[in-house]
Every structure is written in structure tokens, then in C-alpha cells.
């Protein structure tokens, strides 16, 4: 029992920083681990805003309505109580962020301004220009820096999590990590461990995610016995800018501020888009979904774009792209509310979206599935917690825009205090050599990798993985393809054992670290692909043309994957979904 426990937090994005602040405030000590300087975490990329039913626009919005929209948007796959708890907490969290100095956009009276986002009819999204994630991350980073200067937080930046240290009772006692500069492998004891390691975008090769979003940490823990839930639920964002190295997000706020999606009615129309008259344009989202229009949820918009491009062959100039048009909106309004994202388009494409409609296409964006947690953010491994994008809760089968930032902060605010509570009640036990054993296991893994002398290049293998997973496990899923995905992944795992590292030095060796991540990505890919194959229905982001309807009788279930170490493959269980608060209804926008 420790009055001032030491808690390890892995990941320094919004979720990890939120947990850190709560723990420090409660008198605990935090060791905060991050691959990058925490201020450079992926939360910085979130653009459009953060949802809270503050009802400052006289629309009669309520936290219940926010809850209803979120559960309905997630197609009823989320356990409902934590969703409700998040929506109830949201207005107070916005106030706190405001007090921390987040430069939210203001109304003329000086109050917080709100805009509309996908999957709701209310103006519920607070925003700081179009760089809301950056502004929130900085506000939390600053508070953590304050605690760091008071000695309550120790940062381990440029360290990568390798595994949990789990004792013979199955309790998490700390972590094993590698110093990304000296390449030294070290174990760290803690009274509890909180994972806040984000999404798994790199599994899909190119995505809107940052380089560090590999899912490697979650995968390592899954291979050590942690349950991974709803892995098959992957969000593809309808509007990303295709690129050589990544798919850059074009925020939903562009549509929230009035942006319209269209294609020329005539296939292969080569005219300058602005010269195409209104009657020769097809605003297909507005036509198909008159109530929500361009602000249907992401899975719905993404499938619509796929249909227009691949079934109607109406992609711009025959290419897989559609227009996202802001040119009808006043430039001053665009600058005040969307400058950050317009700047991204300008810098990376070279056109000014104030003058020219943007060309966009869907891209892998968010990981709804993740580590299984209970309503206190505790995983099935005692002493191990998870929060933020790396956990499976809140978003069900599809996440609504601007709910991610809120779920990260909410998750951290629950996980931090719960971990402290657990640590204060836990009885201290002998570690019985589990630290030394884990360190040895990781060092042996490293030695095998360094000595491997096959012919495979890890970066090439990764590109193949990304292509396979994007083709089989994103927007449209066919069982025939999915039956072949897993054997292909097994073959890649075999090839992984024949990687010949092009860098075998032991100083800041990013090639070595990447090869380790790739192994974990491959293991987690099997969970995603097999989960997708098993779920014979369509729900939210998971769409199978062979089973086009939601099937609540057979599939109102959480997919829970456990790693069978002996068989070296996932084993699946299915658990009922907690729908105690909101009755099921058909999802129809």
C-alpha cells in the first residue's frame, strides 16, 4: 500500500497527459513514457473540435442528446454507461480547458463558440481555429510541465514501451522499455500502469495517423494476455488528401462550416471545377441524405464516396477523388475558422482552397477497437489500465467527429484516479524475479533480430502489409478476401523472421525499432482481419455487401480477442453489449 503511489503512464497525448495531471494532483508520482517529446504526440493532429452539449446556441441541446447521438452514431456497439458518463462530464471538461487557456474561438459576446459536426443536428463542437487538438495538447502539456518542474512528474521521452512486467499472479508490476538513443533495455517498477498509446494507423500503411501510431504497445500487451476488443472496427475518414508519405486529414469542420461534396455529373469532365454550372454538379450527399446532408457520419459519407467513384465511375477526371468545395464561403470566415487546415492543403497540394475546390478521398483514420477496459478503464490484467484511442470503449462501431478529443480526456480523467485508488489498496508483493525475466526475454528477442541474416527489408514488408490491410479490412469487406488475409499475414510473419536489418548499430537505431514494431503490427493485424471475417453483419464502419444489414440477434456483441501463446494465434470470445440506457433502433440518417 502506497499513499503516494508511483504510476507509469505510457503515451503523452491527450489521454496520457490527462491521466498524468489527475495523478499528480492526487499526490501520486508519475513516470511518463513517450516515443517522442510529448508535445509532438499525435493528438496534435486533431483539427475540427471537441464535443460538449453546452447548449449555448439556444437549440435545446442536452448531454442526453449528445449521448443518444454518440450511441446511435456508433451503431449501438458501445457499452452505454461510459458513453453517458463521458457526455455528462463533457461540459465541465470544456470549462476546465478554457480555464487552462485554450484559445477557443469566441462569440461576439466573448463566450465559447460552437459549430456543427457530423452525426448531429446541434452546434455542439467547441474549436480553436482548425487546430483544436494542437491547442488542447499544448494546454495539458503546459500543466504537466508545471508538475514536472515541481518534481511530481518524471518524463522519459525518446523511450519506447516494449512490454509489461507481469508477475506470476498475472498482475502488472511495471514495464520494460528501450531508450531510443542508447538502445538500452530497462525495466521500471510501478504501483500501476496506464496505457495511452493511441491508434494503429501504421498497420494500414498510409493513413491520417502519425508515424508513432503503430499499435505496437497494445499488441505487445495483447500477446501477454490483455484482451483486445472490437479490433475490426476501423474508421475511414471520408475526406483526406492523398499523399506520397501519408494521407493528410481534411477536417470534418470544413463541412461543418458549410463545405459541400460533389462530382461533375458527366464522367471524365475535364473543365475547371469553378466553371462547371450548378446544374451539372452532383451534390450526392445532399441528395441521398437530405436531413444531415454533408454532415452524415463518417462511415456513411465514406461509403457514399466509394459508390460514386467505383460504381458510378464519377471520380474527378476518372481518378479516385471527389471535390470538397469551400469556394462559396466568405474568405474572412474561412480564415477565422479554418485557417489551419486550409494552410495544410495549400502547403502540401499547392492550391488555395479558398479559390479552388479541394480534391479529397477517404483514408484510414481512427481505431474504435482497442484494449478491453471495464467502466473504470481497467483492463483484464490487474494493475493495467488503458485510456484514449488505444482502448475500445465509447465509440462502438463508428466514432462521431469531435468525440475523440473528449473521449481521450475523459478516459484519462477516469484512468488516473482509478489507478491511484488501485495502487493505494494493493498489497505489496515480492516481484519474484519477474523484472529480470522480462528484461531477459526482451533482450533475447533483440539479439535474435540483430543476428537474423535473411533477405527481407522491414520497410518493404510493411508496405505490403499496408496494402493488404487497406484492401481487405477497410471500407468494403468481402469474406472471400478475408479468408485469404490471415494466411497472407502468417506468411508475412514468417518472412519477418528473415529480416536482414540494414542497420545493426546500437545507437539511435530507428530501423531496428521499426522492425520490432512491425512484428507487433503483424500480430495485431491478425486480430483485425479475423475479427472482420467472423462478424457476419454490417454495423457502422464494418460493412459486408454479403450481409448488408445490422444483425442484433447474432451480433450485438463485443468481439474479444485473446492471444493463445501455444498456437501463436488469436482466440475469440463474444460478450453481450450493455444497452441498459438506450433502446436499440435502426440507424438511418
Amino acid at each position: 500500500m502506497a499513499a503516494n503511489p508511483r504510476i507509469i503512464v505510457v503515451g503523452g497525448g491527450l489521454a496520457g497527459l490527462s491521466a498524468t495531471i489527475k495523478i499528480a494532483e492526487m499526490g501520486g508520482n508519475v513516470d511518463l513514457f513517450s516515443i517522442v517529446a510529448v508535445k509532438r504526440s499525435h493528438s496534435v493532429c486533431a483539427q475540427g473540435g471537441i464535443n460538449a452539449a453546452k447548449n449555448l446556441k439556444g437549440e435545446g441541446d442536452s448531454t442526453w442528446q449528445h449521448f443518444d447521438d454518440s450511441v446511435y452514431g456508433g451503431d449501438f456497439l458501445a457499452d452505454q454507461p461510459p458513453v453517458k458518463a463521458m457526455c455528462d462530464q463533457a461540459p465541465a471538461i470544456i470549462d476546465l480547458l478554457d480555464r487552462m487557456g485554450v484559445p477557443f474561438n469566441r462569440t461576439p459576446e466573448g463566450l465559447l463558440d460552437f459549430r456543427r459536426f457530423g452525426g448531429t443536428l446541434y452546434n455542439r463542437t467547441a474549436f480553436a481555429g482548425a487546430t483544436t487538438g494542437q491547442q488542447l495538447l499544448y494546454a495539458l502539456d503546459e500543466q504537466v510541465r508545471r508538475y514536472e518542474s515541481e518534481g511530481k512528474v518524471r518524463k522519459f521521452e525518446y523511450w519506447e514501451f516494449l512490454s509489461g512486467v507481469i508477475d506470476s499472479q498475472g498482475t502488472c508490476r511495471g514495464i520494460c522499455a528501450i531508450d531510443l538513443r542508447s538502445m538500452e533495455v530497462v525495466t521500471f517498477p510501478a504501483d500501476a500502469v496506464i496505457m495511452a498509446t493511441g491508434g494503429v494507423g501504421a498497420i494500414f500503411g498510409k493513413s491520417t495517423n502519425s508515424v508513432v501510431c503503430t499499435g505496437s504497445a497494445q499488441s505487445a500487451l495483447y500477446q501477454q494476455g490483455a484482451c483486445y476488443a472490437n479490433g475490426e472496427m476501423i474508421q475511414v475518414h471520408p475526406t483526406a488528401i492523398p499523399g506520397e508519405d501519408k494521407l493528410r486529414l481534411m477536417s470534418e469542420s470544413a463541412r461543418g462550416e458549410g463545405g459541400r461534396v460533389w462530382v461533375p455529373k458527366q464522367p471524365g469532365d475535364k473543365r475547371n471545377p469553378r466553371s462547371i454550372p450548378e446544374k451539372e454538379r452532383w451534390y450526392f450527399l445532399e441528395e441521398w441524405y437530405p436531413k444531415y446532408g454533408n454532415l452524415v457520419p463518417r462511415d456513411v459519407a465514406t461509403r457514399a464516396i466509394f459508390r460514386v467513384v467505383f460504381e458510378y465511375n464519377l471520380g474527378i477526371d476518372g481518378q479516385p477523388m471527389v471535390y470538397l468545395d469551400l469556394t462559396h464561403i466568405d474568405r474572412k470566415v474561412l480564415d477565422r475558422k479554418l485557417e489551419g487546415i486550409l494552410e495544410i492543403y495549400e502547403k502540401f497540394v499547392g492550391d488555395d482552397p479558398r479559390d479552388v475546390p479541394m480534391k479529397i478521398f477517404p483514408g484510414m483514420h481512427y481505431t474504435m477497437g482497442g484494449m478491453w477496459v471495464d467502466y473504470n478503464q481497467a483492463t483484464n490484467v490487474p494493475g493495467l489500465y488503458a485510456c484514449g484511442e488505444c482502448d475500445f470503449s465509447i465509440h462502438g462501431a463508428n466514432r462521431l467527429g469531435a468525440n475523440s478529443l473528449m473521449s481521450c480526456i475523459y478516459g484519462g480523467f477516469v484512468a488516473g484516479p482509478e489507478a491511484v485508488k488501485y495502487a493505494r489498496n494493493a498489497s505489496s508483493a515480492e516481484s519474484n524475479g519477474c523484472f529480470a525475466a522480462e528484461k531477459k526475454r526482451q533482450e533475447e528477442f533483440n539479439q535474435r533480430l540483430l543476428k537474423s541474416d535473411g533477405t527481407e527489408n522491414s520497410f518493404k514488408l510493411w508496405r505490403e502489409l499496408g496494402d493488404l490491410m487497406t484492401k481487405d479490412c477497410t471500407v468494403i469487406r468481402y469474406n472471400k478476401a478475408l479468408q485469404e488475409t490471415d494466411p497472407k499475414l502468417c506468411e508475412m510473419l514468417q518472412r519477418w523472421r528473415h529480416i536482414n536489418l540494414s542497420d545493426k548499430s546500437m545507437w539511435t537505431n530507428s530501423t531496428f525499432v521499426f522492425a520490432r514494431q512491425l512484428y507487433n503490427m503483424l500480430q495485431l493485424s491478425r486480430v483485425i482481419a479475423q475479427g472482420a471475417l467472423l462478424r457476419n453483419e454490417s454495423r457502422g464502419s464494418h460493412y459486408k455487401p454479403e450481409y448488408p444489414e445490422r444483425d442484433d440477434v447474432n451480433w450485438l456483441k463485443t468481439t474479444k480477442a485473446y492471444f493463445s501463446a501455444d498456437a501463436d494465434e488469436p482466440r475469440f470470445e463474444f460478450a453481450p453489449v450493455d444497452t441498459s440506457l438506450l433502446p436499440l433502433r435502426q440507424r438511418k440518417y
Binding site: M100, T131, R145, V211, G350
Partner: protein, 259 residues
């Protein structure tokens, strides 16, 4: 500025040549290596570094190691991939190949300790931010009601300052930022201004200004204005410096008379 515009048509079937300054460890001597990649539309410096990792062979056919560099978001908002591209401090992800003169030279920042190749240690900025207490001193994270009301105009001053990505380009480009002056650099001064503008952040204004007095403080600025030239986020850094400069002066006089 090396902006030579788009010339995609002339580039088809051509190769892109890189000269990259490499260094195996903080102690080892730097060396140069050249690489040649087939041109493709939409290439940037980070996508090129990824391509080199796929096949790490120099232009003269020698096997080498992939280049080590910092990167994360690849959309110029995380601040990781700062380096010197064709002599200029900038972010590598937004350095589009079609807008760069060849051969494209890549070097690590010169005023920060090299870790390996193009990766440098920029922790000095985070230490500086601690020194100026770059945060709003809130009472706690429990529910204390709404934040201070803020006029639109004030938000419009704060927001651009708050977009600093801590890339350190302004420090690399500053002639005064070196070991002999110990100058904190523009980014830190601008952050001090941001928090001094905030209704609650103001509470620490005096301490922030005092931290910027004396050696290494704002007086070291030589008004070269390189900072504002290279800032990838167009932050009005020179405005911040003159604003904070005046405040520091006022504070110094006040402190003097108060004894």
C-alpha cells in the same frame, strides 16, 4: 528563399539527387552521402527519406544505413522534422521536392547537439519554457465553472502565438542564439507573451519578465529578424519580442524603485 515553382512536366523520368550530412553518434565526425531517387509527383523530403530506407544504397552503389531523423505527424504541426534543407531551417515534411533546387542538401541543425544523422537534441527549448513558467496557473482540475470571458480580439492575438510547434527553426536561424550569449530565443519570448496576455496567466507575469532579464534574456536579441523569416507557422515573433521587451523594461524600472 529557394522557390522555383512547379516544373512537373520537366521532371518526368528524371531523378532527384540528395546530399545528406550524416553523423553516426554525437562524438563521431560528420560525412556526406549522396542518394538518387526516381522522381514521382508529390514527393517531399520525408517521403524521400522513407524511400531511401526501402533501399539504403548511395548514389555510387554502396550499401549504407537508413537515415535517422525525427518525424511524426508529417503535416507540419508536431514540430519534429526540423532540419536544414538547402541551407534553410525548415520542416522536412512540407519541403516539396518540386519546389527545391537540386541537388537537395539535408543537414542537421547546427546549434543543437547532433544525436545521429539529422536528429538533434532540442530539449533546451522545453527547459526554457519551464524557466518562464509557460502555463496558466489554475487552482485544480476539478469543476470550478467556466473560464474567464475573452473578447474576440484577444483570442485573435493569442491563437496565432499558441500555434508555435516548438520546432526551434527560429533559434537555429538566429545569429544571437549561441553558446556565448545563452540567448533563450524567440519561441520562448513569444510564449511568455502568450501567457502574460491570458487573464489568469497574467498572475505569473512578473516572474516571467524577470526570467527574461539579464544575460541570455531578451536583451540579447539583435533584431536580425531571421526568426520571423523562417517560422513555418508565420508567428509574429518580432512583435512578441518588442512587446515583451517593453514589458521587461517597465518591470526592471518598477523593480528598481521598489528596491
Amino acid at each position: 528563399m529557394e522557390s522555383i515553382g512547379f516544373h512537373e512536366l520537366n521532371m518526368a523520368n528524371k531523378n532527384v539527387i540528395f546530399r545528406i550530412k550524416r553523423q553516426d553518434s554525437p562524438e563521431s565526425k560528420p560525412r556526406w552521402e549522396e542518394f538518387e531517387l526516381p522522381w514521382r509527383p508529390g514527393m517531399n523530403v520525408t517521403s524521400s527519406l522513407m524511400d531511401i530506407a526501402l533501399n539504403p544504397v548511395t548514389r555510387d552503389g554502396k550499401a549504407t544505413t537508413p537515415i535517422v531523423y525525427d518525424s511524426n505527424c508529417l503535416e507540419e504541426v508536431c514540430g519534429s522534422c526540423a532540419m536544414i534543407v538547402n541551407g534553410r531551417a525548415r520542416m522536412a515534411c512540407s519541403a516539396l521536392i518540386d519546389q527545391l533546387e537540386q541537388p537537395i542538401t539535408l543537414e542537421p541543425f547546427s546549434k543543437f547537439p547532433v544525436v545521429r544523422d539529422l536528429a538533434v537534441d532540442r530539449s533546451v527549448l522545453f527547459e526554457n519554457l519551464k524557466a518562464v513558467k509557460a502555463w496558466v496557473p489554475i487552482d485544480g482540475t476539478y469543476d470550478l465553472g467556466s473560464g474567464p470571458r475573452m473578447a474576440n480580439e484577444d483570442q485573435e492575438i493569442c491563437y496565432p502565438l499558441s500555434r508555435c510547434i516548438s520546432c526551434c527553426c527560429c533559434m537555429e536561424a538566429c545569429p544571437q542564439f549561441n553558446e556565448s550569449t545563452g540567448f533563450v530565443g524567440a519561441a520562448t519570448i513569444s510564449q511568455a507573451r502568450l501567457f502574460n496576455t491570458h487573464p489568469t496567466g497574467k498572475a505569473l507575469k512578473r516572474e516571467r519578465l524577470q526570467a527574461l532579464m539579464g544575460d541570455g534574456g531578451i536583451q540579447e536579441c539583435g533584431y536580425a529578424q531571421n526568426c520571423v523569416e523562417v517560422c513555418p507557422k508565420d508567428i509574429p515573433l518580432t512583435n512578441s519580442i518588442s512587446n515583451v521587451g517593453k514589458e521587461v523594461m517597465k518591470q526592471a524600472i518598477f523593480d528598481l524603485f521598489r528596491g
